[in-house]
């Protein structure tokens, strides 16, 4: 054995063993469970082939939660990055505020989703919630709403409170990206007669592409993992209108005790994550000038 191989084993062996035990093996076990009718209650389980997956794709609740998760991921890929980039660009043009804002905005992203959920519950509350109070103050009582209890507003309400935090994440990363763009490049484009919009589309956006890939990947992972906020705000309600896939897996596992079906749904989520991340990586590579 080469000495470096021995050192490599010594260095990597213990952490890899732990990783195998906590991540790799359980993933394999989840795969096996997804082909059985295993239950948390622990009776012996039988091999049932693809039944859990057939069940998942035909069950209305599962299909709905897939739809909710996809809509969430799609909105998540647009709203927070767009907001974050806009504010980052404004801040860069008014650099006096940038430093103060940057430090202040670490508060929203350092707090947990449970706390974020708590605050937004108070904002959406029907009686003395902030939104309804403001609507009342300007005489728009007719628009007041129990935002989190209404089936047609609940999902958007939860999404907005999530986007509130994710937009800051995007902004901070974009601000770092913008400061790394040499101003000569922008100036040169101006001198060549490019308008404001052209500079943005032809110079700034392409140069930000690596950052955009990071922003979109992070936000996509957060979209697809979204459990804490939904649990804290609505637990998936009203009538499952905000039941994301992670929330549904939790419910199938701990309310219905069905390990097999829970594994199947969680693996569908895993595959969705891989597809989204694979697509983003491909998109990011395609557009980069240097590797």
């Amino acid at each position: 054995m080469k000495p470096t191989t021995r050192w490599a084993l010594l260095f990597m062996g213990p952490p890899i063993a732990l990783f195998a035990a906590i991540v790799v093996l359980p993933t394999a076990m989840a795969l096996r469970l997804s082909f059985t009718d295993a239950s948390l209650l622990g009776q012996s389980s039988e091999w049932i082939g693809l039944d859990n997956f057939t069940e998942a794709f035909t069950n209305d609740h599962v299909r709905k939660s897939i739809r909710i998760t996809l809509v969430w991921t799609l909105f998540g890929a647009v709203v927070p990055p767009a907001l974050g980039l806009t504010v980052a660009m404004v801040l860069q043009a008014n650099s006096r505020f940038a430093a103060i804002m940057k430090s202040a905005l670490f508060v929203p992203i350092s707090i947990s989703l449970v706390v974020v959920g708590q605050v937004w519950i108070w904002i959406y509350q029907p009686g003395d919630g902030l939104i309804n109070q403001l609507l009342g103050a300007v005489g728009l009582e007719s628009l007041q709403e129990a935002w989190l209890a209404n089936r047609s507003t609940a999902l958007y309400a939860v999404f907005i409170s999530w986007a509130w935090q994710q937009a800051v994440l995007a902004m901070i990363l974009y601000l770092a990206g913008l400061t790394s763009i040499p101003s000569e490049l922008v100036e040169a484009a101006r001198v060549d007669g490019a308008g404001q919009l052209q500079v943005f589309r032809r110079v700034i956006l392409p140069l930000l592409r690596p950052i955009t890939t990071v922003v979109l990947s992070l936000i996509a992972i957060n979209s697809l993992r979204n459990f804490d906020l939904v649990y804290a705000m609505t637990q998936g309600g009203p009538v499952r209108e905000t039941e994301t896939m992670p929330m549904l897996v939790w419910r199938i596992l701990f309310r219905q005790q069905e390990q097999g079906l829970a594994s199947a749904v969680s693996l569908i989520l895993f595959v969705m994550t891989l597809v989204v991340i694979g697509g983003l990586t491909w998109w990011g590579r395609r557009g980069s000038y240097v590797d």
């Binding site: 670490f106 003395d128 992972i221 939790w250």
Partner: protein, 293 residues
């Protein structure tokens, strides 16, 4: 004052100058809106935590009046397990942060410098851990920890966060050590140092900024985690971490908004402080995972 205000005679401004002035004003309005959108919710929690529950019940959460008092903080400290929650959270976060970073550094270093056969595959498997939804692990791990009799202890969180953290830590540290020239290692080896000494005495001190970035990321992530405590410890309040404690207290004091708000503030202080101290590292940490400089 008057010097920085817009000139009194707009006629003398070129069209370009006027456009710039308009843009600046629109920018200011945008910044003001943005600040309000973030200030109001945060200020709302803090001010609610400083009002008495009676006052809140009478005037509502968002009323701008009322005497300020620390009564809620005293109250939540005495009547809830607040101290216990905090200790539990540190008990999970500190070991898990240390183990995840240590393990990720060792794997990243070995991959970058010893270049073992199969290294690419090892890296691929470990980094793809980033994309495994926690729910996939939850199903088998719940039965595993139940069989090991570790439910309602802090062990599941410590073990899971340590192992799951290897993914990001390996990615960042591999990229970091790739940038350190091999000649440095060879020079130290020729001087008679062992591989272990090279790693410990030469490489690790260089890695301090990357390690600080990871520590910020990992601590925030682990401290704020809610899913694993909910799944593994929800049966016992005295093993709850602070995030689960928040929910427990919410159930216990349903309409005592002031009490809930003060616990939310307490729960947020550690991560807010760490962010203020290490903000630069945080951005670098996030970016270095994916971008090679």
């Amino acid at each position: 004052m008057s010097t920085s205000a817009a000139p009194a005679t707009p006629a003398r401004l070129t069209p370009e100058g006027r456009a710039r002035a308009v843009r600046r004003r629109v920018g200011m309005v945008l910044i003001a809106l943005f600040v309000a959108a973030y200030l109001v919710p945060v200020a709302g929690v803090v001010s609610t935590s400083l009002k008495t529950n009676a006052e809140i019940a009478r005037r509502g959460i968002w009323a701008l009046t009322g005497e300020l008092t620390f009564a809620n903080y005293v109250d939540v400290w005495r009547t809830a397990n607040t101290g216990r929650y905090l200790i539990n959270s540190f008990h999970v976060a500190i070991p898990a942060v240390v183990v995840s970073i240590a393990g990720g550094t060792l794997i990243g270093y070995a991959l970058a410098k010893f270049r073992p056969r199969g290294g690419t595959l090892i890296q691929l498997v470990i980094v793809s851990g980033l994309f495994v939804p926690p729910q996939v692990l939850l199903v088998p791990l719940f039965t595993l920890f139940r069989d090991l009799d570790l439910l309602n202890t802090l062990w599941p969180m410590i073990l899971i966060h340590s192992a799951v953290g290897f993914s990001i830590c390996t990615l960042v540290m591999r990229n970091f050590f790739d940038q350190i020239p091999d000649s440095l290692r060879y020079a130290a080896l020729i001087d008679g140092a062992s591989e272990g000494q090279v790693f410990w005495r030469v490489m690790l001190p260089l890695a301090r900024p990357a390690l600080a970035a990871l520590a910020t990321l990992q601590f925030t992530f682990i401290w704020n985690d809610f899913l694993y405590p909910l799944v593994f410890t929800s049966a016992r309040d005295d093993v709850a971490t602070i995030m689960l404690g928040l929910l427990n207290v919410k159930g216990q004091f349903t309409v005592a908004y002031g009490t809930q708000a003060s616990l939310a503030v307490i729960a947020s202080i550690p991560t807010v402080v760490i962010f203020f101290v290490f903000q630069k590292h945080f951005v670098r940490g996030l970016l270095s995972g994916a971008l090679k400089e």
